[in-house]
Structures are given as C-alpha cells and as structure tokens.
C-alpha cells in the first residue's frame, strides 16, 4: 500500500482476552517488524486489561473473499436446515437429547 519504503507496514491485531476464548480482531497498527508489532499491540490494545495473548499478521498477507461473491458463497447454506438441531422432532418425554 505504501509508496515510501521507509513507512512501517500495517499489521492486523488479534487479541485473546481470556484463556479459552478465541483471538478476536481488534484493529491495526504500524510496526517495522513482528516483534515490534506485538509490543505495539500490547501498548495500544491491552491498556485496560483486555489481553491474555496477542496475534499479529501483516495486513498484506490477509486474503479476503470478495463482496460480490457473497451470494454464491453463502446463500447455498440457507436451505440446509438439517444442519441445525432444531430441525429434528424428538419423541415427547425423551430427556437429555
């Protein structure tokens, strides 16, 4: 993205707020290398005890699906209701199922 080679690249930051939870995207920042990106993420995004673990990835390494593909990618799942537990009729009185 950057035309000037002296600009620090952009990194995306993912924070796990508690053990056992997923890492969630919280925002981005600039850093010259991964080490610095982790430290900057610590200083920028965990000042209020939000953090337990940090992932950073250089933004240019993220590939995203295209919005115009959304229908063909995601709509086909619409009619597969049998993937959801509520689709099934259980005999009355059966427990723990």
């Amino acid at each position: 993205m950057s035309d000037n080679p002296n600009n620090w690249p952009l990194w995306e930051v993912f924070i796990q707020s508690k053990r056992g939870l997923e890492h969630k995207h919280v925002g981005s920042l600039h850093a010259a290398d991964a080490e610095m990106a982790i430290e900057n993420a610590r200083d920028v995004y965990t000042r209020r005890q939000e953090g337990n673990s940090i992932w950073v990835v250089e933004a240019e390494h993220i590939h995203a699906s295209r919005p115009e593909d959304a229908e063909s990618l995601f709509d086909p799942a619409d009619d597969k209701v049998y993937r959801h537990p509520t689709f099934y009729t259980m005999p009355e009185g059966a427990k723990y199922i």
Binding site: W8, L29, H30, A31, A32, E35, M36, E39, N40, D43, V44, R47
Partner: protein, 250 residues
C-alpha cells in the same frame, strides 16, 4: 536504621518519579504514534511505582507526610535520584539510551529486592519486576535497532551512550546508607547488580554493534541531593501549583 530506610526508599522513589517526568515530556511529541503510546505507558508505570514507594517512605518517616507531600514539597537538595534520570530527553536515541542504562540496573535491583527482609519493599518490587522486565525488553530492542539500523541512528546511539556513560557509576554507589541496609538484609549488595548490569550492557551493545564507552570520570552526588542543574527546572515545573497555592486541594 529507619533514617537510612527512609533515605533508601526515597532514592528508589525519586529515580522513578523523575524518570517518569522526563518520559511524560514526550507525550504528544513521539516519533510515531505507537511509540508515543509506549513511552506514556512507561511513564505511567514509573509514576505508579514512585507513588507506592513515596507512600512507604512517608510511613517509614512517621511524620504523616503523604506521597504528594514528598513529591511536591521537597526541594532540589532533598531529592535523592541519580543524575542519570534527570538528564534532558535530547533526541530519541538519548531517551532510549537513558532508559536502557537505567533498565539494565533497575531490573536486577528489583529482582534482588524480592529477597529483601523488608516486606513492603518485597511487595513493591514484586509488582515492579514485571514492568521492569518489559521496559528492558523495549529499550534493548530499540538500542539494537538504532545501533544496527542506519548510519545516522548508529551515530546518534553511540553519541547518546558516550554522553550518558558518566552517569552510570552513581547507580552502584556504596555509601553509609547502602552499607547499613545491606548489613540489615534490606538492600541488596551492589556487586551482583553491577555484574548483571555489565552483562546486559555488553550483550545488548554487542548485538547493536555499539561500543561500550570507557569507564572514565563518574559523576556522583545525586544520592546525596547534589544534582545537575536540570533537576531544579524539573521541580519548578512539577511543583508549580503546590507552591503557588499552598494548602489548596486539587
């Protein structure tokens, strides 16, 4: 003994308070936003550490002085920090080198204080040691970046080291206060702290391709309240409101 402990605790506190003051001067003026935020985090760490220590010093003294009283109503000759931390920020290399030299001393000191016979100091060090670990990591990495970065950054880092080196001797001064508390098992011995300092400095400077300055004349006096001229200005600024409106609540 309580006299020595009071002085010793003030020394620990004043280093942090004055360094925090210097770092807070960067707030809004850092070389890049991320670094601005990082430096302020550090200033806040030191401010918190200083407050804990000043509160304890007030207790040790037993005359009802609060952390604020000790911070805002002592004059230049009563401050006990080393001269290193009162040195002006200079360029970013000076700030980083000052941080680094202090961290290389402060982290092993905090580690050693964990074994002190004074429970309060152990508790305070317990919190500070985590912060100090991060501070040394941050300042070391920047020393290496500067030393092994561009020609300009290398030159600036070397100049900063050369300028500040004379203030490192005072970190390990062995005077009566130090000796008395060492004997009582409260203050850790300077020897091992100096050894840890040397090994950190040597290791990081080697990786940074920077030259360790020769041990020449070492400035002293800060621990006894004989400071460089810079401290007076720091206190004039810091204490302005308390001095101009005595006794007011804020």
């Amino acid at each position: 003994m309580s006299n020595a402990l009071f002085t010793y605790t003030l020394r620990l506190a004043d280093d942090l308070l004055v360094l925090s003051h210097r770092l807070s001067e960067w707030c809004g003026h850092g070389p890049v936003l991320e670094e601005d935020i990082a430096l302020t985090n550090r200033a806040l760490d030191h401010l918190g550490e200083a407050r804990n220590l000043l509160q304890y010093a007030g207790q040790v003294e037993g005359q009802g002085r609060s952390d604020d009283d000790l911070a805002f109503l002592r004059n230049e000759r009563q401050y006990r920090n080393v001269k290193l931390v009162e040195q002006p920020n200079g360029d970013y290399a000076h700030t980083i080198a000052r941080n680094f030299l202090f961290d290389a001393y402060h982290l092993p000191l905090m580690h050693a204080l964990l074994k002190s016979k004074d429970d309060q100091l152990v508790a305070i060090a317990g919190k500070a040691v985590k912060e100090a670990t991060y501070h040394l990591r941050h300042s070391s990495e920047w020393m290496v970046r500067f030393g092994d970065g561009t020609d300009e950054s290398h030159q600036r880092a070397q100049t900063a080291l050369d300028d500040l080196w004379t203030f490192t001797g005072e970190l390990f001064v062995e005077d009566d206060v130090q000796k008395e508390l060492e004997k009582a098992g409260i203050a850790p011995a300077s020897g091992p702290i100096k050894a840890a300092f040397d090994s950190t400095v040597n290791e990081v400077l080697k990786e940074a391709t920077l030259k360790r300055p020769e041990d020449g004349f070492m400035a002293e006096g800060g621990r006894d309240g004989r400071h460089t001229e810079h401290l007076g200005y720091i206190l004039a600024e810091m204490q302005y409101l308390q001095r101009a409106y005595p006794g007011a609540e804020w």
